[in-house]
């Protein structure tokens, strides 16, 4: 089995590795540049001090943050955005053809009528693409965690692109994409439709879970604080409140918090999005920055479970293909 798998996938493996090396050739130097720039601006120290003093870092590190953002943040995101699609690409090109190409070309009738059962054949293949997906996604997930470390200082790691690219979630997404591709192949029996189903299914599930399930993995926390009104001169139109250093209830603010909702309330506790005339305090619910890793683990678990389910369904469907 291993000889056959190696012979069938060696070219694809080579192309994938060349792609990864090319990406590394771009990402490693640019990552080093970002780390250097952040250190030169004294950003990590400044933010550590701000957090220690329970101060909003945007107040005391403002100039450094601004200069850093100008130089790196916006440009970096476009480049890094590529990686959001990496799990999808692996699902499309490693997962979808796995069964679909065999059935499309009729070679499943060749390979399943040798001495090896189709279940063993499928398990060996799935194990192989599973390991490939695992290694690639672990390398790039942890690599991007390093790459984005300075950027994480300037904002929350819970942001949609930020959360989805670093840490361990890429492993879950990639395994899920591969499993979806394999399952689609056992269902549609042709490569292109299987790829189309993988594409649509992956995006739908990812968006649904990110938008609906992720904010609810753990009960959000609430806090209230007295804000001071911004200067009359800064007529941005947006009602905003500069928070006092310590909240009247709840945990102190951190740059890394995931803000879910905010209301400006009057003395009776009634509030809305608009800034009321009789403003009394600000209420907000959020996921604290410290929950980044628990959330990563939960989201990874959800996608790994979905992947295992799809692999099991694919093995079941395989029995009915002739």
């Amino acid at each position: 089995m291993s000889w056959l798998i190696w012979r069938q996938h060696r070219k694809q493996l080579l192309v994938t590795l060349v792609g990864l090396v090319a990406l590394a050739a771009i990402m490693v130097p640019s990552g080093l540049a970002i780390h250097r720039a952040a250190a030169e601006l004294g950003l990590p120290d400044c933010i550590r001090q701000a957090n220690a003093a329970a101060t909003n870092p945007h107040m005391i590190c403002e100039s450094a943050l601004e200069r850093f953002s100008e130089q790196h943040v916006s440009g970096a995101f476009f480049g890094v955005l590529l990686f959001v699609f990496a799990p999808l690409l692996i699902g499309l090109f490693w997962g979808a053809p796995l069964v679909a190409r065999e059935v499309e070309q009729g070679t499943h009738r060749l390979v399943w009528t040798q001495g090896v059962s189709r279940q063993r054949w499928a398990l060996a293949k799935i194990a192989f693409v599973g390991v490939v997906a695992l290694v690639i996604s672990a390398v790039y997930g942890l690599g991007l965690s390093w790459w984005m470390a300075p950027l994480n200082l300037t904002g929350s790691r819970f942001g949609y692109v930020s959360f989805d690219m670093q840490g361990v979630v890429p492993i879950g997404y990639t395994l899920f994409a591969v499993a979806l591709g394999v399952f689609a192949g056992t269902f549609l029996h042709r490569v292109l439709p299987a790829m189309a189903l993988t594409l649509g299914g992956f995006i739908a599930v990812r968006v649904a879970i990110a938008a609906l399930a992720r904010p609810r993995y753990m009960t959000a926390q609430a806090r209230t604080y007295q804000g001071s009104l911004p200067n009359e001169g800064s007529a941005e139109g947006e009602p905003s409140v500069i928070p006092t250093p310590s909240p009247s209830s709840g945990q102190a603010r951190e740059v890394g918090d995931w803000m879910l909702a905010r209301e400006f309330r009057d003395a009776n506790g009634m509030g809305n999005d608009n800034f009321p005339d009789d403003y009394a305090y600000t209420w907000e619910i959020f996921q604290p920055a410290s929950r980044f890793w628990p959330f990563q683990v939960i989201e990874t678990g959800v996608f790994v479970a979905l992947a295992l389910l799809l692999f099991a369904l694919a093995l079941r469907r395989l029995r009915r293909i002739a």
Binding site: M1, W3, L4, G106, R109, W112, G115, V116
Partner: protein, 298 residues
Amino acid sequence: MDMALETEGLGKRYGQRWALRDCSLRLPAGRVAALVGPNGAGKTTLLHLAVGLLPPDAGEVRVFGASPYANTSILPDIGFVAQETPLYRDFTAAELVTMGGRLNRRWDAALARERLASLGIPPNKPVGKLSGGQRAQVALALCVAKRPRLLLLDEPVASLDPLARREFLQTLMVSVADTGTTVLFSSHIVADLERACDYLVVLHSARVALTGDVEDLVATHRQLVGPRHDGGPIRGVGQVVRARHTDRQTTLLVRMDGDLGDPLWTMHHVGLEDIVLAYMDDTSNDVTTAQSAWGVSA
């Protein structure tokens, strides 16, 4: 007698449609059998059931006494070449031989190499670049290298030109004659059968229309020509397979069960091809169905 393949009331259904139904046949070991029938008669379904690619929906199928579906213990005894002889097209013939060695416990690589060499097939060229005839030979060589006791071939010669077809059947015959391998190969090309096989299974509309030893079939079938006949019994005739009438004359293809007792008929010998065609011919049924489907009166 040892049975290579036995089916009993075997049936397979795709949705509402039965692809194979009430199929009961016994193929004795050591025979070279042809499985013939028009397209869609159920030949491929029968072969897929026999090699264990499909589970039956009714009845049972046994290969050397064992049920083949999801049964890896019987796989080494069955060699199978699927329709259109699928191979990994980017593999070379030499790599396919290596693959067979990796996937089978019993594997005669030397036999495969010898066969391919004697047929002049290049070892290091991707098989996708070989001709259809050469690809079929590669598929057959892979199959034979398993040293199977039953060889199942699904339309192995369908895509070949007449010369390649004859060559393929010849090499097949030679290789099985030495080893006593049982062969069942399907074909919708009826010519060449008489030379290639000694056993016959005719499928029609998902059912077995005829099965038996070729010599027996040829010995018992006759063509009778006589005056126009109304369909009454004729002494010595067991079954009228096909009847053709003109205004004054009737031509029958019949299966005899004794001596012909009616001097009005003249009797002719018929070849296997004519017998097969007679069993496959049911134009009268098709025409009636088609007439009602088209809304045309008879």
